[in-house]
Symmetry: D2
Subunit: 286 residues, 4 copies
């Protein structure tokens, strides 16, 4: 499916500020970037860095005092991998590849160690596999209220769980935390999301099952097969769309994504298991 997407951010810079942005579409085999442009005003020198393992695209810019805006546009052709959820199993910890370890351990906002008693009590007895992670998403959707203002940039998964409220960032953190607490590697995903109203950067998560990273969205707010990845990481700390160091005021922020292939959206959300990552062979101790 073809999408036209992008974002426009504007700021008033009060003192020299370094920005680190992560908002460009990740270069995945599943997401072919047909065209792309990034325009800064003023047109400043930028440093570009792509993490070798996760393919996150970071841009560093030093911005002087005054107005500053960033305009990103891309046309992307997304081909997701679909499968029957019932066929997707979990991998015993002893057979997981060791490089997946960062996504099994707790991180700044994914306090999976603190949530382990709860997750074990609630989900340990469920049949394993994609269905179990989907049950986790259903539990989150049924028990956590989507409530802008219920959290901030320091809220952890266990705090959101206690408060029973949060936004997409928190839904993704709780889902990731529950998975890790059950021995399922999981990671936080930032993305452009077709079907999300109002339009915004979206946060979902991926769980590693049967050698592949599968997408999950506990908010149930966007099309699971219309998610264009920006970044993946342990949690929101790693892939904020903007990390500023300096004194500045955000002025405006607009995120957009539309279908551009003339095809309509299906009337119902997909029930397929969806992945946008290539599978990987996993070596493990037998």
């Amino acid at each position: 499916m073809r999408y036209t997407l992008g974002c426009s951010l504007s700021y008033n810079i009060l003192s020299d500020t370094t920005f680190i942005f992560n908002l460009e579409v990740a270069k995945l085999r599943s997401a072919e970037i047909l065209s792309e442009s990034l325009i800064l005003k003023p047109d400043l020198k930028r440093e570009v860095y792509i993490t070798p393992d996760l393919q996150n695209r970071y841009i560093g810019v030093n911005v002087p005092t005054g107005p500053f805006s960033l305009d990103y546009n891309a046309e992307v052709d997304l081909t997701v991998h679909r499968a029957d959820p019932a066929t997707i199993n979990e991998t015993p910890i002893g057979q997981l590849p060791l490089d997946i370890l960062p996504f099994l351990l707790p991180s700044r906002f994914v306090s999976s160690d603190r949530l382990t008693p709860f997750a074990q009590a609630e989900f340990a007895a469920l049949p394993k596999g994609h269905q179990r992670v989907n049950a986790i998403c259903n539990w989150i959707h049924d028990h956590i209220a989507y409530q802008p203002g219920a959290s901030d940039g320091e809220t952890t998964a266990h705090e959101s769980l206690l408060k029973r409220a949060g936004v997409c960032r928190d839904f993704a953190h709780i889902g990731t935390a529950f998975c890790r607490a059950l021995g399922i590697p999981a990671r936080f995903v930032s993305c452009y999301a077709h079907g999300l109203v109002p339009s915004d950067f979206h946060a979902v998560f991926e769980a590693y099952l049967d050698g592949r990273w599968w997408l999950f969205d506990a908010t149930r707010q966007a099309d699971l097969d219309g998610l264009i990845r920006i970044g993946v990481g342990r949690d929101a700390a790693e892939i904020a769309f903007s990390t500023p160091y300096g004194n500045m005021q955000p002025v405006n922020q607009q995120i957009r994504i539309v279908r551009s292939d003339g095809l309509g959206s299906p009337p119902q959300r997909t029930v397929d298991a969806i992945s946008t990552e290539i599978p990987r062979p996993h070596a493990g101790a037998a």
Copy 2:
């Protein structure tokens, strides 16, 4: 300087347990491994993984019920890089290489975002450079009591700061947090430590200054120039010497390190700035 070091761990495995160990000496140019052996009893198949960026050596072992022991020995020739602390400066954020970002952001136990008001109030006015990080270590040493039992595996830097007590793990987390709060990249280091009494795995931290990672130990308990790195990471969550998944009881644990070149230790601890990492050129937006 030459060291003979190692560790012996024994367990009683109650049900099949997967261990992920990180306890072998990291292969750095500064730490030449003259000989090394790892003996497991029973002699089980092990999976080996070395993180490509940080060179952490992980071993994965699936251990069946019954007794289990691990014995690691190595002889290491350590050549540290020394410099006059007064000559080592901080790098403005806008000139830091973007791949250092993970060590500027908060992580599971290094809650630098929550400690920023405190760190700014306490240290922002100090002259920048190695001396500032050393002042941080002095502050920690003077204000935090070394108190086994004051923390556990879930304790974060801000909790240790409030409690004014902790162990080496917590001292290193607080030091790392303060640095990150001031815009100095910092990372957690696990190591064998000459001079540490009683002998144990030790935790210190490194701060990135003037293109190099420099060692700091806020506990002041070991020889700064006698630290042999095992792992580096965002914090203790990433490089626990042992991460078990299963039901087991630790039986015994012995860590050892002695000088083996026949030379005595200097009567006083070094005041040099010490690094065991090669320098790196850093690319940044001018």
Copy 3:
């Protein structure tokens, strides 16, 4: 029912220490104290204070360096008030007497404000009355593991809930918190508890229903009709059996309670609603 009970505490006092004890049986109409003795060694001057509202008996003693022991014995005749739980209703907040307010508000360890989303989600739809509070106790008993060492003197109700583990103090805090979150006044009770194994000071809670304070024990470890109250308060902070100010080491602690009327205990725990407080008329806005 007649009970012989008491406690023996011994300490090694390292520097002058002020103790405030709350361990004598509360003088309730339901608990007739037939005989009582308190022996201190050395035999120090003690200050006695009984809170006018809640009848908590505090003893203040200033103890010099050296060995110190306290021995308390009492013979008590307990006559509980029994009722059919199905007949006991909740009182709408608008009709509660205002002096009950302290037991509706959050306190140091009873973080009822933080637990309100959870309590509302879990219990709001249950039929109101004694049965609802009993359902709360059942939930706690089924979901929280009784685990010495899982908490300490600073653990709050929401922390115990997250950890899914605690001791009697934490079970009582969670029960009290859930009640307050539902608008049911509730308070923490310390007591001697017949049937508790191993013998110890016990913590339960009371909920205010239909003009009376009714006892509840979420641990299900003692006879509900064999609880002899020591103190009541907002939470454990108010009625610790011992609050020391000074440098001392506890040496030994023995708590005891046996039936002394020659009658055996019934084979099964009671299912009656139990109260040891006289009823009170409540004035409320109609």
Copy 4:
């Protein structure tokens, strides 16, 4: 000094709501109430309760759906007790009256137990007495930023301390916490405050020194000798000006206090120690 003061609160009640208000001037010997009126619209039946020990005046009102307003006015003649701070000493714990215990122990927002290491490190060596508590206020004023929005109704003293920001409620909680951590009984005070701009309910604290409760205001925002007490308690949980149970929207809130004796205010804030409570004899173990 004579003051005309009061408050006007208006609400839109969405469903039947029980309010418990604590906003009338406390009847102290030092604050003679010359005239007073409380007007509710609609004119509803109210329940009145005055706590026997602390003299807090609570009003309970059940308000039906629709608009609701409360208008309170009073004229008060305040005669404070002044003394030279240098003459006011602390009382050793062993000589404090036992009924002061609630103000030595931690409470919901005054997490003095968690702040004890910090308070001991910072203030233990200071000369004891009124001057030490004043030094505590100076420390708070210098280190905590007055920042509306930095806290909410669940923020505890140690959280405000870590954040280094808060409002009057938090300044009072930290001051109370530090005192309790040093063995100085302290309590939270809500009041009308002359000199406070913008006008609002104010929060300060009192410390028990030399048999008397002395006022302290770490915000330094109001006249210490122009504080008219509404309530005292362990912390803000006990004496919120309004505790609502129901679904309602606050519409408007106006608090006012002016000098009404025609005398001007002195050009500078007083440096006297100020108390509005009568002294009390204290019995203690010699």
